[in-house]
Symmetry: C2
C-alpha cells in the first residue's frame, strides 16, 4: 500500500486523495499527534477503546484484526500508509478487536473523534471522501460475504464467471468469452478453498460442457448450465 512519488518519498493517502505528507493533508486548526513505537512494542490491546483515527504512517504492524483491505482473521501484517480500525471510530462499541504490535520502528498518527468531526465540518470534500471510503469498504465486505456464503466451489465459480459476464464479455461464434482477473492460486485464496480443489472443480465444469478454459480466458459454453450451477 506504500505509494511513492517521483522522488521515491512515500505519499500520504488520506481517504483516497494523495498528499506529499500527512502535514499537508490535514487542514489548519485540526489537532493531532504522532507517536513512535519500537519493534515489538504494543500499540493497542484487544478491548482498548478506540477514541479516534489511527493511521500507520511509517513502518509496519502485526495484527489479527480484520484489515483495512478486507483480509481475514489470521494474523496479518499491515504496512504504512494505512488507517487502523477506521471502521470502529464511530461504532457504538468502539474498541480494538485484537492486539496491534509494531513489527519494526513505526509511527502512528492519532486524531481524536471530535477533531475528525471538526475536520469534516471544515472540509466537506473530505467528508465525502470518508463516506466513499467507508461505503467502498462495506461493499467489499458484502461481496466477500456473498462469496463465502455460496457453499460449493462450483457454485462459487459459476457466480464469479457470471459476474464477469455481466460486467464485460466478448462474443465469439455462438458463445461468450470472459477473462478472469485472477490466476487459479489467487482465486483459490479469494474463495477460501485449496488450489487443487479449485482446479478439480474447473476441470469438472469443463468436462460437463459448462465452460472451456484457456489460461485466463473462459468460454461460456452453457449460460443456462452456469445459472443452474449457482445453487
Amino acid at each position: 500500500m506504500q505509494t511513492k512519488n517521483n522522488q521515491g518519498i512515500p505519499k500520504f493517502n488520506f481517504f483516497g486523495e494523495l498528499y506529499e505528507n500527512y502535514q499537508s493533508a490535514i487542514p489548519e486548526g485540526i489537532e493531532y499527534s504522532t507517536k513512535e513505537y519500537n519493534k515489538n512494542e504494543v500499540i493497542a490491546r484487544q478491548g482498548d477503546s478506540c477514541k479516534g483515527l489511527y493511521i500507520l504512517i511509517e513502518g509496519s504492524v502485526k495484527t489479527e484484526m480484520i484489515a483495512e483491505n478486507g483480509g481475514l482473521l489470521h494474523i496479518e501484517t499491515i504496512y504504512a500508509v494505512t488507517p487502523l480500525a477506521s471502521a470502529f471510530i464511530f461504532a457504538t462499541i468502539n474498541c480494538f478487536p485484537v492486539d496491534v504490535t509494531a513489527l519494526e520502528k513505526s509511527k502512528i498518527l492519532f486524531m481524536a473523534r471530535e477533531q475528525i468531526l471538526k475536520m469534516f465540518q471544515m472540509n466537506h470534500e473530505l467528508l465525502m471522501r470518508y463516506l466513499r471510503y467507508n461505503a467502498d469498504k462495506t461493499k467489499f465486505l458484502s461481496d466477500k460475504i456473498q462469496m463465502l456464503s455460496v457453499k460449493t466451489i462450483k457454485a462459487k465459480l459459476a457466480h464469479y464467471i457470471l459476474g464477469l459476464h455481466m460486467s464485460a464479455q466478448q462474443k465469439e461464434g455462438d458463445s461468450f468469452i470472459v477473462f478472469m482477473d485472477k490466476n487459479q492460486t489467487e482465486l483459490a485464496a479469494y474463495f477460501g478453498v485449496t488450489r487443487p480443489s479449485l482446479a478439480r472443480a474447473l476441470s469438472e465444469m469443463s468436462r460437463d460442457g459448462l465452460i472451456s478454459i484457456n489460461k485466463k480466458a473462459v468460454r461460456i459454453r452453457s449460460l443456462k448450465g452456469l445459472m443452474e450451477a449457482r445453487g
Copy 2:
C-alpha cells in the same frame, strides 16, 4: 423491524433515532419525495444507479441483495421501516446490486445525495448517527466474515465459545461455565451449517473432553484444548 408506539402507529427509525413519522425526522429545507408502488411493481433493477437514500416507509419488498440486517445472498423480504442499499449511496460504484420488487402496496421515500449532504451539514447530530449506523454495520459484516472464514464447524464452535468466555463467564469448581445466546438451530444458521452437523460437532467435542453441555450452558473442561481447536 417495525416499531410501534403507544397508539400502534409505526414510528420512524431514522438511523437510530425514533420519530413519530418521517416528516418530523427530516429537517426544514431538505427536499425529498415519496412514491407508491403496487404489488409486484419493480422498484429498482440490478445495475440501476443509486443516486441517494431510499427508505421503505410502508409495505414490504422482495430482494436478493445483502440486506441492511446483514442477511445473505438468497432472496429476502424486507419490511418497513428500513433503508434500502444505504451502504451504496456514497460508494464509487453506486448501483443496486439486484432487483427490488414490491410484495404489496408499498411506499418509498427518496432523498438525493446532495440533500443528504446538506442535511448532514445542517444537523451534525444526524451525521454522527449516520456514521455510527454505518460503522455498526461494518462491524457486523466483519464479524460475519470472521465466522464464515473459519473453516471447520469445531473451530467455529471453539471461536464462539471462547468469545463468550471473554465477555462473561462464571467459575464453577475448576472450570468455567458460559451461556450460549442462541439455540442449536439458530447457531447452525449463524454458522451457515446444517443443524445435525452442528449437533455432531458438539457431541464430539463433548466426547473429547473439551466441553460439557447442559441446555444452553457450556462448561469449558479444557481451555487449552479449545484454543487449539480454533485452528
